[in-house]
């Protein structure tokens, strides 16, 4: 192991006393500062939002009038109900599908499971906004491609699909959030001790009962964590409802927040809506921690074990294969085909006409529309810098919390995890309220702050798991050989954690590249990102959006290709 060898050679590099003092200072302050910065980034925007919710425009006095107005508004009641329904059903749907897909690729012998392992992630790389647009073109009741295909070729009426409904929103979100659950549970499923399942079967439990009473309970921490992330992000997403539901008078809370910030703007109302949603999220996190805290889930011991691969019957194997084809087909292939066909059409008449296919939309987006070039540059710049800062901050925080497990760490961990559970639009609102009167407004830096503040918990959690897998003995050996903290970090810990660091960086990069929730509130002239450019292009022509979406998919595919090289670390 290179790290160990390097650590041993450190004996020859005895630091001077001055260097030693500097390194001790660095060791003491750097991770601690990262934690403090994280706490500030997590709490200050939230506090700003809550404070702003207690104020009305033109007055500094604190009041609950914004909340009173919300409670009296039937539209808010309807929006809250719709949002709850969306959150619950998306969580159930993607939970079911995510666990099933993870189980199929990790615990069965279906052919091509290595390929499916990666293909299941493709929807994660497509922006939900583009996904919603694609499904609108596929299943719009009077002009959808699938609707017309079924009608013209098979005489079938698919207008009952009703994509412009709560059900339509749930369908699209289930497809796009399944990879979240999949990623959360695939590692634990792989690491599950097969002996426990064998014991259950020996004692007479069938497959379903073993899943229900052994496998799923053991997955509970990962599944609950994933479920909460899916619940809050799907319920807090505004870009899918804004395409599929808002035009049809179907309100949702995030769409109301977006509407409240827009003209005629009412920041107090937006902040009150955001605060109420945050209160629900905090309550959910507390309940999740209470539930998990009451039970024990350790299945990994010092004894060697291996997860069992289920030998499927032909019928079950065909059924699993069909599930995979269904998911990859509906989650990735069909939406991408729809987007490509729209991008190649000068006008959409509900049908693709190859005779009129053109690259004009690509030419317009890439050559004539100045914003595209800015947006591609801005998105890449912000995603690279953001992912780097997020990973650096998350790594130091994970390191600090791992090395000193006390009551402070126990309190800080949920606080530091909080931003990840807050929908982007609400977090963006907090940053906007906080920084609107500063020189940061309208610059790259306000967006970067929002990105780092919103996504550092993701890196902290991922890298925490990576650090947990490294034996503390390695670090202790280096230190006993005379290495300073920084040298140990640089030559032992970071090289060993490198696959995890790269995978986390790429995941954050991908998330930031398609980010829209907070960017939409914070961008200014010249700082538009690809997501913002898409929204602006959608105000001109969806064909242009489709062309830009294809460009975005190409960029994300590049990241996907890099990620697939690190897939082992990702799935672990």
């Amino acid at each position: 192991m290179d790290g160990d060898l390097q650590a041993v050679t450190l004996l020859a590099q005895q630091p001077t006393r001055q260097h030693d003092t500097q390194h001790r200072r660095l060791e003491r302050w750097a991770p601690g500062l990262a934690v403090l910065l994280g706490v500030a980034l997590a709490l200050i925007p939230v506090a700003a939002t809550v404070l702003r919710s207690l104020m009305v425009d033109g007055s500094d006095a604190l009041t609950i009038v914004n909340y009173q107005r919300l409670f009296a508004d039937p539209r808010v009641h309807l929006a809250a109900r719709n949002t709850l329904v969306i959150g619950v059903f998306v969580t159930l749907g993607s939970g079911l599908l995510g666990v099933l897909l993870a189980w199929i690729v990790s615990r069965t012998d279906i052919p091509g499971r290595k390929t499916f392992e990666l293909l299941n992630l493709v929807p994660f790389f497509t922006s939900p906004y583009v996904g919603a647009m694609a499904w609108q073109y596929l299943t719009a009741p009077n002009s959808g491609l699938l609707v017309n295909l079924a009608r013209n070729w098979f005489g079938l009426d698919l207008s009952y699909l009703r994509i412009n409904s709560i059900g339509g929103v749930i369908w699209v979100l289930v497809l796009f959030y399944t990879p979240f659950i999949y990623l959360f549970v695939i590692g634990p499923l792989r690491n599950l001790n097969g002996a426990l399942e064998d014991a259950a079967r020996v004692h007479g439990l069938g497959f379903i009962d073993t899943m229900r009473r052994i496998t799923l309970p053991l997955l509970a921490p990962a599944l609950l964590s994933g479920a909460i992330v899916v619940f809050v992000t799907s319920a807090g997403l505004f870009d899918v409802p804004v395409i599929l539901a808002t035009p049809y008078s179907i309100p949702t809370v995030p769409a109301l927040i977006f509407e409240s910030i827009g003209y005629p703007s009412d920041f107090g109302r937006a902040a009150a809506l955001g605060s109420m949603m945050m209160a629900v999220i905090v309550l959910l996190i507390v309940l999740q921690r209470m539930y998990i805290g009451q039970k024990r889930y350790e299945t990994v011991s010092g004894k060697g074990y291996s997860p069992r691969t289920a030998k499927l019957s032909r019928i079950t194997r065909a059924a699993c294969f069909a599930v995979e084809i269904f998911y990859v087909g509906f989650g990735a292939v069909l939406p991408l085909i729809a987007v490509l066909l729209v991008a190649l059409s000068p006008l959409w008449r509900g049908w693709f006409d190859p005779a009129r296919a053109t690259l004009e939309n690509f030419r317009y987006v890439l050559e004539e529309f100045d914003l595209t070039r800015h947006a591609i540059f801005n998105s890449t710049f912000l995603s690279v810098l953001g992912a780097t800062l997020v990973v650096a901050l998350g790594f130091l925080q994970a390191y600090r919390l791992q090395s000193r497990q006390g009551w402070i760490a126990k309190i800080l961990q949920p606080v530091l995890s909080m931003p990840n559970g807050i929908p982007g639009i609400i977090f963006g609102l907090g940053i906007l309220i906080l920084l609107i009167r500063t020189p940061l407004y309208g610059t790259y830096w306000i967006i970067l702050i929002a990105y780092v503040a919103h996504y550092f918990p993701f890196a902290m959690r991922s890298l925490g798991a990576v650090l947990l897998s490294l034996s503390p003995e390695l670090e202790q050996s280096a230190r006993s050989c005379g290495a300073t903290w920084w040298q140990t970090l640089r030559m032992v810990v970071i090289p060993l954690a490198r696959p995890g660091l790269i995978a986390t960086w790429l995941m954050v990069f991908i998330i930031l590249l398609r980010e829209l929730g907070s960017t939409i509130l914070l961008y200014g002239q010249g700082t538009e990102t690809i997501g913002v450019a898409m929204l602006l292009l959608s105000e001109q022509n969806f064909h242009y959006v489709a062309a830009l979406a294809i460009v975005q998919v190409a960029l994300l595919s590049l990241a996907f290709a890099l990620l697939s090289r690190n897939s082992k670390s990702l799935f672990q």
Partner: protein, 361 residues
């Protein structure tokens, strides 16, 4: 001596010819004072090198046609840039209000059909005071209260009227009532009244011309609320909606050029004119370039490009529309008269609440 005089004359004539060649078209036929003013602005604008322009109607392709004409008109360097965004009205107003709160100005010049909001901004001192020489060419619309000399003009106007694909639906007659008769439930679109002033202004006009009952009958058809005129027209072309109740002839023109077949109606009871208010922000960071852009857009040359590309209705006195079918002269339109100057932002909000109650939006 004679030889020297001859040489001086030759040199002077070469210089003079050179000057004549270099003189920008904008300086032709104007008096010395105006020439000096424009020259000074051109020098400053060249130093500024760029300006930022946001518009809720003009598309980037139109900006791309306007920019070289603008550069040539004033003899600006070819490197002069315009940072342009076509942006939805509610988004634009939100951004401009946020910039005002932040004390920043990234936008120099903007255009949005929201006369009440723009007038409020002018009163609050958020718009630059600029006595453009072009105002004199807009005296008729200024008298009608659509332009406030020194604060804002309009770079074009439009109307929201019924728009449909004649292959899919037939409209017989020329009344709003005839349109109501052919609407199919759930397959008609209107604007997004929750966020768009232009939609609410059209609603006020429609109510004035046809009464509230008519609007309630429209609401009973369960329309879809679409925020942008391009999407409204696209949905008709795709066959998703059979009628855009608040369609824009501009978009019909642009889509028909791409092969669509859209028709629109100017109902006999009258239509509401929506002036695309055009103004410079008070703290514009490129003030000289902004003033030249303001003048150019309002000039005959600028208006011609805008009408040809966007089929908008020009407010310039005596302007001859190159697209009379889609952008008829204001004088030929039967307009519902509403004095926007007498309305306050609160009045507009009250109308918005009324709209939202009727349409259950």
């Amino acid at each position: 001596m004679k030889r020297m005089t001859m040489a001086s004359l030759v040199i002077a004539s070469i210089i003079s010819a050179g000057t004549a060649r270099a003189q920008a078209p904008a300086l032709n036929g104007v008096n010395d004072a105006e020439k000096a003013r424009v020259s000074a602005l051109v020098t400053e604008a060249a130093k500024e090198g760029a300006l930022t322009y946001w518009d809720t109607v003009l598309q980037p392709a139109t900006k791309n046609a306007l920019l070289p004409a603008f550069i040539e008109h004033y003899g600006l360097p070819k490197s002069f840039r315009i940072e342009f965004s076509e942006i939805a009205p509610s988004n634009m107003i939100t951004r401009l209000e946020q910039e005002a709160k932040a004390g920043r100005a990234t936008v120099d010049v903007a255009a949005v059909a929201s006369p009440i909001w723009v007038a409020a901004q002018a009163r609050a001192g958020a718009l630059m005071k600029y006595d453009s020489p072009e105002y004199k060419n807009y005296s008729v619309v200024a008298e009608a209260g659509l332009v406030e000399v020194g604060s804002y003009a309009f770079n074009g106007a439009y109307v929201f009227v019924p728009l449909w694909d004649p292959d899919k639906v037939k409209v017989a007659g020329d009344s709003w009532k005839d349109v109501l008769g052919v609407l199919q439930e759930g397959r008609v679109s209107v604007g997004n009244g929750a966020a768009s002033d232009a939609t609410i202004m059209t609603y006020i006009g429609l109510k004035t011309a046809m009464g509230k009952d008519y609007v309630e009958a429209l609401a009973a058809k369960k329309p879809v609320f679409i925020p942008k005129s391009e999407t409204i027209a696209s949905r008709v072309v795709a066959g998703e909606d059979t009628m855009a109740f608040m369609g824009m002839p501009t978009r019909a023109y642009q889509m028909n050029q791409k092969g669509a077949n859209l028709k629109y109606l100017l109902p006999k009871e009258g239509v509401t004119l929506l002036p695309q208010n055009f103004f410079i922000m008070a703290n514009a960071s490129h003030p000289a370039a902004s003033k030249l852009w303001f003048d150019f857009i309002l000039s005959e040359k600028g208006q011609k490009i805008i009408v040809e590309k966007e089929a908008m209705i020009s407010g310039r006195n005596g302007f001859v529309s190159p697209l009379p079918d889609y952008a008829p002269p204001i004088s030929q339109l039967h307009l519902v008269h509403i004095d926007w100057n007498k309305m306050t932002p609160e009045d507009l909000q009250a109308a918005r609440r009324e709209w939202m109650a009727i349409f259950k939006q």
